[in-house]
């Protein structure tokens, strides 16, 4: 399974990667902003994408739009902070699979992988 992690914070990306060590056969790619996320998505073709919302160059909502344009049923998990409920609503309407809230826990990340790999 291939996972794309998109967040402008390398610290946050390293946390998610750390949690994903639970799944040794995962292939992981990263992107630090929305623009890069779309490029990497096109090349890497991940099964699941963790997508942060507030990022430089292109934010998560714009990146989500572009990603869904590339692949209509792409599995995208929005990673959001408190106070972004309207943004989350918009993302889910657009086609994001689900969202998790920061600060997330180990079970949140592992849960996503388990859930999507069963579908």
């Amino acid at each position: 399974m291939k996972v794309l992690i998109v967040d402008d914070s390398s610290f946050m990306r390293s946390i998610i990667k750390g949690y994903l060590k639970e799944f040794p056969n995962l292939k992981i790619a990263e992107a630090a902003d929305g623009e890069e996320a779309v490029k990497v998505f096109a090349e890497f073709q991940p099964d699941i994408t963790f997508l942060d919302i507030i990022m430089p160059k292109q934010n998560g909502i714009e990146a989500l739009k572009a990603i869904l344009h590339l692949k209509r049923n792409a599995k995208v998990v929005m990673v959001t902070s408190v106070g972004q409920s309207s943004v989350i609503e918009e993302a889910l309407k657009m086609g994001a699979g689900k969202y998790i809230m920061k600060p997330f826990k180990y079970d949140d990340i592992v849960g996503v992988i388990n859930e999507f790999s069963q579908k």
Binding site: D8, S9, S10, F11, M12, S14, I15, G18, I54, M55, P56, S81, K102, P103, F104
Partner: protein, 520 residues
């Protein structure tokens, strides 16, 4: 939260706080910049989120307060006054100090109640003048312990190591059945691989000079506010990178010189007005890249160095005999002498000028140099020449009267035979012909005080000129690790360092520039 992530959190947070400082200071001079405000909000938002992941509540609360402050600026409910800038900078400093404490596994010491109160006060009384908010400035530091290395670089290193292992296997097989051709080829290829490996590793030791420059706007701003001066600090952008050990050493001298420029150099607005200058003084930092060194220029348009006062002090201290007439240039060369301060009261910022001799010695220690130009009421230019690296230098080994010396190869353009009639004597100087031009000739022995019979010439680049240096023999060409000389030897012209050869013998690495300068 897993302690494993703490160092990553601290490292990234430090970088973000540095970006915040640069942005807020530049925003002060161009306040209506929505993208800078948005970027500042994003940075504090990220810091907040990351701190929450690490369960460092007071750090995330502090970030939240700062984020709110930026939001208020963004929506126009708070004006970006000097007091507001000071508040944000103070918040940033508090958070940076907290990171240092976290790295020592101590409590952050953040007083979020005080920050909240400060923010409330800003909102209700926006007229708090700047300068009342005192900030403890940290001396900009390079993180000398760790380096971030891109994975591509590590891959390259691993590839080289892999190939070197293959070469080793070949050498081992040659032990059993020797083949000269294969042996020689293997030696050449091994040399090449080692060179690539070395270049790759050395490259990762190089840091942009802007790493230390980035702290200066804040420092200059604080001093200017404190002294009631108006100062425009211009830092010309540069892509120059220096070995991190060089950066470590020049950081303090740079800060000292910059503080001198602001404290002693730039006049207060009234004084500048009387002299017909603009009320705002300018301090400019720029760089020039040469082949194997870099020049950093610090120029100000202030009152210049008081050369009369320096000469008087120098005579008092016995550096110069009374009645001696010295040119401005010669007087300025005295600035590096210990104890020569003419400011009667030391300001807490730059001390008594005792710093300049330490600046000078620090530079000599790393094979660098300093020159000063100054004109009364026009300003001062201090130029620091810095080597690009302290480490490995491509050198040519030459002999002078059976003694071997290392000469930096980068400045050597050509090596030629020296025939008897090729040296001309004109007006007491020796000259030779080179590519249609007549250039100065010195025997290296003459510069070192040794008698010898040169038979080869090195055509050497000395500043903008070419100079011919006579040597006995060319021995070899090698990369050598140059050890900087003991400070007590560093002031002797010609000693650029020492290098230890394969047989354990020690060879002097020559500083040709200082030898030629002595002749001048």
């Amino acid at each position: 939260m897993n302690q494993e992530f703490l160092s990553v959190f601290i490292e990234e947070s430090r970088e973000e706080l540095d970006k915040i400082e640069q942005l807020i200071i530049s925003l002060e001079s161009t306040p209506n910049n929505p993208s800078s405000i948005a970027e500042l909000m994003r940075l504090f938002h990220t810091l907040k989120g990351n701190a929450r992941m690490m369960e460092i509540t007071d750090f995330s609360d502090a970030s939240h307060i700062m984020e709110d402050c930026l939001k208020a600026i963004n929506d126009g409910t708070l004006n970006l006054s000097p007091a507001v800038t000071d508040f944000i900078l103070k918040g940033k400093d508090t958070m940076k100090n907290a990171l240092s404490k976290l790295s020592e596994m101590k409590a952050t010491g953040i007083d979020t109640a005080a920050l909240t109160k400060g923010f409330e006060e800003l909102k209700t009384t926006p007229g708090i003048p700047a300068g009342e908010v005192k900030v403890e400035l940290e001396t900009p530091q390079i993180n000398a312990q760790n380096v971030r290395v891109p994975t591509e670089s590590l891959d390259k290193v691993l590839r080289c190591v892999g190939q070197l292992n293959t070469k080793l296997s070949t050498f081992k097989s040659l032990q059993e059945s020797f083949d000269e051709k294969l042996f020689n080829r293997n030696v050449r290829e091994t040399e090449q691989l080692l060179k690539e490996l070395q270049e790759e590793v050395l490259d990762e030791r190089m840091f942009p000079l802007e790493t230390i420059f980035s702290r200066y706007p804040r420092m200059v701003r604080e001093i200017a506010l404190e002294q009631g001066k108006k100062i425009n600090l211009v830092i010309k952008s540069t892509d120059v990178k220096l070995d991190k050990s060089v950066l470590d050493i020049i950081n303090d001298p740079m800060v000292h010189i910059l503080r001198n420029a602001v404290d002693h150099g730039i006049e207060i607005p009234d004084e500048r007005k009387k002299k017909g200058k603009g009320v705002e003084g300018t301090v400019e930092i720029s760089t020039e890249k040469l082949r194997d060194s870099v020049i950093v220029n610090i120029r100000d348009d202030g009152k210049g160095i008081d050369t009369e006062a320096i000469l008087k002090k120098a005579i008092e201290m016995g550096y110069v005999a009374p009645g001696n007439v010295l040119s401005n240039e010669k007087i300025l060369q005295l600035v590096g002498k210990s104890g020569l301060s003419t400011k009667s009261t030391a300001s807490k910022l730059s001390g008594r000028g005792v710093g300049m001799d330490i600046v000078f010695n620090n530079l000599k220690r790393i094979g660098g140099n300093m020159s000063i130009k100054s004109e009364k009421d026009k300003g001062t230019l201090i130029s620091l020449r810095l080597p690009l690296t302290l480490a490995i230098v491509n050198s040519i080994m030459v002999s002078v009267n059976e003694q071997a010396y290392a000469v930096p190869l980068l400045r050597v353009l050509k090596i030629m035979e020296l025939s008897k009639g090729s040296i001309r004597h004109e007006e007491g100087k020796c000259r030779v012909q080179f590519e249609g031009k007549v250039i100065a000739y010195f025997s290296l022995g003459e510069l070192l005080g040794i008698t010898h019979e040169p038979s080869k010439i090195l055509i050497y680049e000395y500043g903008n000129e070419l100079v011919a240096l006579g040597v006995d023999e060319i021995l070899s060409r090698e990369f050598v690790l140059v050890n900087r000389p003991d400070p007590r030897l560093a002031s002797i012209p010609g000693i650029g360092g020492t290098t230890i050869m394969e047989d354990g013998s020690i060879r002097v690495f020559l500083d040709i520039e200082s030898l030629l300068k002595e002749r001048d």
